[in-house]
Amino acid sequence: MRPVYLHARCELKPGDPEPDFRSLFSVMEARRMGRLLKRAVWTASEALKEAGIDVPDAVIIGTDYGCIENSEFFLKALKGIDDAPMKPTHFMQSTHNTISSLIAIRLGAHGYNATYSHRGRSFESALQDAWTQIALGDIDTALVGWFDEMTPALAESLIAQGIEPKEHALAVVLSANPEGAIEEIPSLRSE
């Protein structure tokens, strides 16, 4: 097993000013993409830039609850709420892997691609997957992200379950290369 290193970390914290997305997206693209996807692509691209990597060997994303805004648009239409129209785009962009797939399409990343969605464990699982594959020597680099959006309805449900509602926009780059690393990432074995 090889050691695994952290090479870059980019995060948009709650309350941080919204970055200028114009450098990344055309007006048309920006219109099609929700805030979650824009923040995801922006943090991923910043982290890769920092690590000096164009196309990572793997794109692995954690999302605790997925693309819930689009799910709610589609659910509203399904339930006849507010005469919302049933749009294929909302359905297409409601699946949890919308984020990892969009990042892969933009990067032309044909390598390993996965999405974990398991409440507070999502990012940890994504990190463990990347760590394991680099340690095994299957891949050399991985982009790992943690992206979540909140809606009033989901926040209400989580609070009722004693879970703090949180948005996430975090991207890190892992690599087998010790040169220029921020730190080594120890084994993530979960118990």
């Binding site: 359905f91 032309g108 969605s117 449900s157």
Partner: protein, 381 residues
């Protein structure tokens, strides 16, 4: 593969039945489980579906779980129970549970929306399965749309390869929901007639549902426990088409790379493959794209290929593990499941196998998802 990974247990629930016995009988007789909607709460009755032939209450009664769980969790419990029993394991003590789903508890939220059900999310549906078996040391959920369960198998295998686990329970579960029935409907990829994978007249898929779990185990653990090895996972591949959010590329790049990776990992040549259980949804786009990928991998010497989705419908997130269990049965019993509903060749597609007895050693099992999440598992005797 650098490490021997045994499959020591399997459990399956789909439209063709509950358990390996009913499943094998249906696969051998060519009996499809696709029909009109019986259990799903929906106003959309136009499309045929592959429903598990049990109500939530019947499933709950069979496994002693609460009927208030999501259907995804109930089907998952039934499948995992069979897998653990076959492997001779009483529960999940010391065994990580890695499941795949996308729908999760959407069926529950459909009843409470605009409020969410606390069982809504993917993680909640996996946690409910783990809780039924006494809890797992850790549980996590892959959600890569229709390849979720295949990717759960891959992550579990990597935990064993890296020495992070000796035994893992891997697979996936997905119930039908009004949400994705309408969603696939809005994409115009559902057929009102039984789906016809690789046929020139194919016009879309039939949505299905179900669950399947495998017990993967290291060689040392198999020896220590004296467990029986049903087969080995000799390779796998995960690649991304990186082409479009829902459509597949014309040359099947993601599918090609996934199959190629699996072969390379197993140290096998294309001619070593005795059967391919294709993703074969029955949509014009998937089947043409997958055929292009198959031709790139195998050239003119295509092995027998069939899609069992004409039996079960497209069981979406669970399809990877459900079809892996079908492959295990085919390997053990020595037969190729027939391509049902195929009559007319399409130059853009491979000509599928009409099934029959066969001595099988190596089987490739494909599962591709929205977002170009393409995975391939290689199961060997």
């Amino acid at each position: 593969m650098d490490t021997l990974i045994h499959i020591t247990g399997a459990g399956v629930v789909s439209a063709v039945g509950c358990g390996q016995g009913e499943t094998l009988d249906a696969l051998r007789r060519g009996r499809s489980g696709i029909g009109p909607v019986r259990f799903l709460r929906t106003a959309e009755k136009t499309f045929l579906v592959g429903e598990v032939p049990l109500s939530n209450e019947e499933m709950a009664a069979r496994c002693g779980a609460s009927p208030d769980l999501s259907r995804t969790s109930l089907m998952g419990i039934l499948a995992l129970r069979e897998a653990l029993t076959e492997a001779g394991l009483p529960d999940l003590t010391g065994i990580p549970l890695i499941s795949g789903t996308t729908v999760g508890g959407m069926d529950k939220t459909e009843q409470t929306f605009p409020a969410y059900s606390p069982l809504h999310d993917c993680g909640a549906s996996t946690d409910a399965i783990a809780a039924h078996f006494g809890g797992a040391p850790f549980a996590t959920t892959l959600s890569t749309a229709c390849s979720s369960a295949a990717n759960a198998v891959i992550f579990g295998a990597n935990l064993i390869r890296s020495g992070q686990a000796d035994i893992v329970a891997v697979g996936g579960s997905e119930s039908l929901s009004d949400f994705h029935l309408h969603g696939f409907g809005s994409l115009m990829i559902l057929d009102t007639a039984p789906c016809r994978p690789f046929d020139a007249t194919r016009a879309g898929l039939n949505l299905g549902e179900g669950a399947a779990f495998l017990i993967l185990e290291s060689d040392a653990s198999v020896r220590r426990r004296g467990a029986a090895s049903l087969a080995v996972l000799s390779g796998f591949g995960n690649a991304c088409d990186a082409f479009h959010q829902t459509a597949s590329s014309e040359n099947g790049e993601g599918a090609f790379l996934a199959m190629q990776k699996a072969l390379r990992m197993a140290g096998l040549r294309p001619e070593d493959i005795d059967y391919v259980n294709a993703h074969g949804t029955g949509t014009p786009n998937n089947d043409a794209s997958e055929s292009a990928a198959l031709r790139r991998v195998f050239g003119d010497a295509l092995p027998p290929i069939s899609s069992t989705k004409a039996f079960t419908g497209h069981t979406t997130s669970a399809s990877g593990s459900i079809e892996a269990v079908f492959c295990l049965l085919a390997l053990r019993e020595g037969f190729i499941p027939a391509q049902l509903n195929w009559t007319t060749a399409d130059p853009a597609c491979i000509v599928p196998s009409l099934g029959g007895p066969a001595s099988l050693k190596h089987i490739l099992c494909n599962a591709f998802g929205f977002g170009g999440n393409d995975s391939s598992l290689l199961i060997s005797r």
